[in-house]
Symmetry: C2
Subunit: 474 residues, 2 copies
Amino acid sequence: MDDLIAELAGVLGEANVLVSEQDQAPFITDWLGKYRGAARAVVRPGSTADVAAVMRICARHKAPVVPQGGNTSMSGGATPDASGQAIILSLTRLNSIRNIDAVGNTITVDAGVVLAKVQQAAGAAGRFFPLSLGAEGSCTIGGNLAANAGGVAVLRYGTMRELTLGLEVVLADGRVWDGLTALRKDNTGYALRDLFIGSEGTLGVITGAVLKLFARPHARASAFVAVRDAAAALALLATVRDRCGDRLTAFEFMTGECLALILRHIGDARLPLAATPPAAVLIELSDQDDEPELRERLEAALAEGIEAGLVLDAAIAQDGTQAKAFWRIREGVSEALVREGKAAKHDVSMPVSAMAEFVAVADAAVRRVAPGVRPIVFGHLGDGNLHYNLLPAEGQDPAAFAAIAPELTRIVHDEIGRRRGSISAEHGIGQLRVDEMPLRKAPLELELMHQLKHLLDPAGLLNPGKLMPAATKN
Amino acid sequence: MDDLIAELAGVLGEANVLVSEQDQAPFITDWLGKYRGAARAVVRPGSTADVAAVMRICARHKAPVVPQGGNTSMSGGATPDASGQAIILSLTRLNSIRNIDAVGNTITVDAGVVLAKVQQAAGAAGRFFPLSLGAEGSCTIGGNLAANAGGVAVLRYGTMRELTLGLEVVLADGRVWDGLTALRKDNTGYALRDLFIGSEGTLGVITGAVLKLFARPHARASAFVAVRDAAAALALLATVRDRCGDRLTAFEFMTGECLALILRHIGDARLPLAATPPAAVLIELSDQDDEPELRERLEAALAEGIEAGLVLDAAIAQDGTQAKAFWRIREGVSEALVREGKAAKHDVSMPVSAMAEFVAVADAAVRRVAPGVRPIVFGHLGDGNLHYNLLPAEGQDPAAFAAIAPELTRIVHDEIGRRRGSISAEHGIGQLRVDEMPLRKAPLELELMHQLKHLLDPAGLLNPGKLMPAATKN
C-alpha cells in the first residue's frame, strides 16, 4: 500500500478506500458506457471534515481528485482519465437532509443526497422541490449543482443555479468555505456561490447546499398538441404564455420523425392523436388548485391556437393516467434513440426566437454532407434548448456514419455559433465537449476561466481534463 | 490641462470631459447628500468603445475610475472619495435600447438606460419587465446590475441577478468581455456574468445587458391587512402562498409605529382600517386576467387567516385607485422617516423563518442601550428583508443619538450575524458598510474576494474604497 492510500485509509478507514479492480468497477466507467478510466483509489468520505482531510492529503501528494455523485453525467464529467493517477472522491455517503424550514421554504442537504430524496422530503413537509430529470432516482444534489442541472421544469422554476441559496464547498487545499446561508437577498460581496455552481468539480468540492422550496401545485393540466413545425410551436408558446403566465410549467417539442421513432421502439407509447403529425408539443400547466379552471384555460389557449392556424389537432388529458401517457411519449425519446442506433447527439441552446429557423437551416446543412441523415429533434422549446440528434441514413454502415459524425457536429455547432447559442445547454462540457471549448469560446473568456481555475486550483488537481481545455497561452 | 484630461478629451471631445466645479457638482455628491467627494474629471462616453478607450487611458495613467449611472446608490457606491484623483465614468449617454425580442422574451439595453424606460419599452411590446423600485425614474440598468437591485417584486421575479441573461463588460485594462447572450440555459463554463453582477463596479464596467421579459399580468388584487405582529404576518404569508402560489407578487410588512409615523407626516396617506393596528401587511397578487377570481382567491386566503386568528382586520382594494392608496402608505415610509429626523438605518436579511424572533430580540436589545429608542420596521417580509430603522427617543438630542448610533448598528448587526443573515440585503456595501466587512465576513471569504479583485483589477483602480475593504493580509 503506497503512502497516499495509507494516509487516506488512516482518515476514512480501509473500508472506505477502494483499491481493488472489482470494488472500483462501478466508479470508473460512466453510466452510458462511453468513457472508461482508471483510479488509484475510490474514497468514500462520510462528512465534510472527511472531504477536507482527503483534499489536504491529496494536495500534499499532488494527486488529482475526481469528485463523483450518482455517476450520471451526460458528458463524462465524473469519470477519471486512463492514467490511473486519480483519486475518485465519491460523495454518496454524505447523504443527510440536514434541515427543512417549511416557513422559510428552504431545505439544507448534504451533496450526496439523491435528488428524488429531496423531492420526497419537500413533499412530506407540504412543499415542492421542482428540479426533475430522468436520472432523479440516482443523481445527487452535488452533481446537479456541479452540472447546473436543467430538466423539464426550467421554464417555470429555472435551473439548479436559480434553485440554490447557499453552498458549502471544500477548496482544493482542504479549507472549507461555509456559504451555507438561507438568504433570498444578500448584497455583501462577490457571488462565490455562482462561481462553483456549474463548474463541474473543477474549482472545489461541493459538500452541502441550501435549496429553495416552493408552494406545492395541486392541480395539473396537460395537452398533447399536433403542430406543423417548430415555427408554429413557437407562436403557440407565446399564446400559451400570454394566457397562462406562470402556470406554464413545461413546453416540450418533438418532430414527427421523433414521434415515429418512439412509436417504432416503445411498445407502450400511444399517440393520443388520429395520425402522426409533422411535429408535436407536450404542454403542462400547474397551479395551486382548481383543476377544471386550469383545463379550461388550457383549452382556451389551444382554441386560440386553432383559430390562428397554429394547432392542427390536440388532446387534453382528462386525468392523471392520460397525462402520464403523454409524458411516456416524451420520455421514450432517449430510449428509442438508443434502440435505433448510435446517434450524433447535440444538446444546444439559442435565443428562443431563433429555434425554428435553426432547425430548418441545420437540417438542410447536415443533409448536404450526409444525404439521408435523419434529424431526431426534441427538447425544451420554452428554454431555447433542443436535443438535436442525428441518426445515420436507413441502412447506412454505422462505422461510415461514425466517421462523418464529427463533421456533422461541427456543422451543427457552427450554426449554433452563428446564433450566439450554446453547445451545451444542460449536459455540461465534461470530457465530451472539452476539445471544442477553444473553438466555441472567445479567447478573453477562456483566459478569464483559466485565471479563475488557477486561482482556486493552482496545482490543477481538481477534475483534470473536464470543462477546462488545457491552457494554450503562456 | 494635464495629460490624462487631454487624452480623454481627445477621445470623447471636450464637451464630454467635465472639469469645472459647477459641471461636476451633480456627480460628486450622492443623492442623499450623505457623501461628498471630488473628481479629477467626469467623463461621459457615448459607446462601449468609448468606455474601453477611457479604461485604457486611465489604466495607463493609473487613475482610479468610479463608474456612475443614475447616482441613486443607497450606500454611496457611486460617489468618489475626497482625494480628487478619481475619474467619474458616467454611463448615462449609453442609453439605447438595442433590441427587443418579443418571441424570445428578452430585451438588450445599454447600461445607461433608465429603469423606467425599460419597463415602458417592455410594455409597448406587450411584455413585462418586473424590476420596480423607488428610484426607477432615474436609476440606470447598469447601476441596478452593479448593485443587484431588489425592490418590491423580488418575491415573485427575483433580484436583478435572476432577471439577467447576458452582460457586456469593459475590464479594468479596457478589454471588452462580450457575454451578451440571450440564453436561458448555457452550461459551458464559469459564471462570469454572476461575478460582475452585484460587484458594485469594482471588477469591471458593465456597458450592456440582455434582460428577461415576462408575460404581462393584466389582473391585480391588493389587500391591506391588520395583524398582531411579525409572527402573525409570517404565518399569514405561508397561508397566502399555499393558496395563491406564484400569483403572490408582494408581501410588505409595516409595524404600527411605522404606520403612525406615516399618518403623522404624509398628508395624503389614509389607513383603510378602522384603527391603527399593531402591524400591517400590504399583499398584492397578480395574474394574467380574471380579476374577480383573483380577488376571491385573496379573500379566501384572508378568511383562512381570520379563522386562524392571524388577521385582525382587512381591506381589499375594489379598484386601481384604492390599490394605489394602499401603496401610497407603503411608499410613504421613507419620506416620513426623513421628516421625523435622522434615523440609524439597517437593510438586513435573514432566513424568513427567523424574522419575527429577530424583531423581538433586536427591539429589546437596542432599548437596553437606548431607552425610548423607536424602531421603525418595515420591509419585504417574503424575502426575509427588513428595513430596520431606529429613531431617537422623543425629544432626544440628535447629536446624542448620533453618538450612540454606531453602537446600535453593532447590536442590530450582531443579532443578524447570529441568524446567519446579511447586513445588506439590497442596498449594497458601497462606502456605507465597507468598514464592517472584516467583522461580518469569514476571513476565507474575504480572502477569496480579494483574490478575485486582484485578478480582475490588479492595480486597484476600479471604484476604490467601495465594497472591498482594504486588504489586511500580506
